[in-house]
């Protein structure tokens, strides 16, 4: 059984991360942007796991756990903010959240 080379994982991770970035910058819906952030985090997780596996070291796995915990906490706070925004604006369009504009 041949081992899948690490470059495959990294290319996949990079593609996922790039998709996350593009969505993060160009999407208008706050929840979509939120999901784009999650996508980027998980792309990084994939890279971490791939490196951990390739070099037989646990450090990468430990990082992944931390990232998941941070992502969970972020989801809790972020969704609360999203709900508050919706209650105030009756919209999830990011363009409408511009009170601090010049």
């Amino acid at each position: 059984m041949s081992i899948v080379p690490i470059s495959y994982y990294l290319v996949l991770s990079a593609i996922l991360f790039g998709l996350g970035v593009v969505a993060f910058v160009f999407k208008r819906n706050i929840i979509t942007i939120f999901m784009a952030i999650e996508l980027m985090l998980n792309a990084v997780n994939l890279a971490f796991v791939a490196f951990a596996r390739a070099w037989n070291q646990l450090d990468g796995l430990v990082f992944v756990f931390f990232v998941i915990v941070v992502a969970a906490a972020e989801a809790a706070v972020g969704l609360a903010i999203v709900i508050t925004i919706y209650q105030n604006r009756h919209s999830l369009n990011i363009e409408r959240v511009n009170l601090l504009k010049l």
Partner: protein, 667 residues
Amino acid sequence: MPILDHLWIILALPLAGAAINGLLGKNWPKVAINSVGIGSVSLSFLSVLEAIREFSLLPADQFAFFKNYFNWIVAGSFKVDFALQMDHLTIVMLLVVTFVSLLVHIYSVGYMAHDEGYYRFFAYMNLFVFFMLTLVLAANIVLMFVGWEGVGLCSYLLIGFWFLKQSAISAGKKAFLTTRIGDFGFTIGILLLFWTFSSVDFGTVFAKAANMPAESATQAGVLTWICLLLFAGAIGKSAQLPLYVWLPDAMEGPTPVSALIHAATMVTAGVYMVARMHPLFSRAPIAMFVVALVGAVTAFYAATIALVQTDIKKVLAYSTVSQLGYMFLGCGVGAYAAGIFHLMTHAFFKGLLFLAAGSVIHAMGGEQDMRLMGGLRKQIPATYWTMFIATLAIAGIPGFAGFFSKDEILDAAGSGPHANITFWLLGLAAAGLTSFYMFRLIFLTFFGKPRFDEHEVHVHESPRNMTVPLMILAFLSIVGGWFAAPHLLGKTDYFEAFLHPVFSAYGVPPGIEQGASLAGAAGEAGGISPSPAMELFHALTGPPVILAVIGLLVAWWFYIRRPDAPKKLAERVHGLYTLLLNKYYVDEIYAILFIRPFLWISTNVLWHVVDERVIDGTVNGFADVAREAGGQARELQSGNARSYATWVVIGAVGFTALMLGVWGMVR
């Protein structure tokens, strides 16, 4: 020895008085302010007496008592201690300062009775006494300089005491700035002194100077420069040519201030300083010559201005300048003891003259112009008699204090080891002029018919607390010179003998005898020893006495016998009269030569260019740059969440690129 070991007590008492009155006394009743103000000075005076008693118990070979309390400044090899010292010269100054201060404080209770700033006045006066005593007791020149500047500060505060009066403010400013010119030289002198001797302690410096030979009379060495720079400070503080202009204006202050600060004590600080630094001056013939020259010329010059002044205090102010010139003349011809002697007698009679003038002004309801006085003799007899005695003393009538001291100075100038016939003649002429203008003052003020509306002005004698100090000072103006009286009979001059330990302690450079009167015994060495009676006869009929009497008679002729004569004379020599009346236009000349150019430079260069363009321009420039940069950077903060997201991505990409680049370089 309770006081001598704690000399600081003498200083601390007036300082405490100033602090208590100045900080707390605003709403206190006058009794409380009086007891603090006068109490502190009188306790200080008693401490001085006790210190002198203890000083006299010291072994005879110890001519100075020195005590270091703490190190004040230590920086490398530069060390200044808070150290006080006491010797015979200090004793004379301490007695004069504390006693005259005490009398002036008592007098002020009456004079300032109706003044708003009563507590402020006494606080300033006490502060002045503190600084003056610091100046006198200091054992190094830096501490002396503290006192020196401190009395200048109090002088400024008290000249401008009535600070709602524009002229008083200007006079205070003028006094402060003019003396600052001299103090500039004084400061450099201190630096040069330290540079030369690596010490600022009087004892150390003098001991080192004692081993130095006297400098030549043709080439200025370092001692000469030190002395000349220090003397520049004395010129400012003691109102000598060319920096005397502040003293006449200083008469804007309350009269007790004029008596204490601008006649008896502060202005004599320069004379004290020269006498204190005598080991240096004695070795610098050029500096000595300059001191004598400035003194003699000032003595004559100021006396000529005093001849025609009409303000009673202005006459006394110019008289003070002239008498200070005498003191410097005495010091400059090597007769330090005579200079200090004149300082003491002058403190008595000039202090008295000012206080009595204050009493006259008080009686006239604030009038200072002598042309509007006259005939006050009967109405204010106590003031009249005391002032008359002081006039006899300052004019040099035999038997009164001024006669002895002035005689000694002229004696030293005429026949001492540094005798100079020109200075002697100038001094003599000044003596004649002094007699004339002082009797002119007396005759105009107290004799003749009243030249004021007697229904308007209610002339009244001053209260007891003003006249009693006058009487005490009058008594001292008579007997104050008697220490020197045996000298007229060819015996010891007790005053000079008293100061002899100080002025002989650091040796005399070869070829220079110290103390004119000690050398005055040269007549005996020559084999001719006149009998005491002959000496007395000579002293009583010498040129100074003759000139004094002539001055008196001329004044009598002009102002009693022929009251219309002065006007005729003034018309005949109109040019000279106008010149004197306008004080030789010195203020105007200074205005053209110095003040206006400085004002022009200050306004057009320093203000409008250096301050407004360079300094303000730099600061404003920084502010403008910051504002511009902020305005540009503000655009980034658009408030649009998506642009932030873009920036985050750009930042992340940039950071990654940077890391890759750095990693690439490391590898």
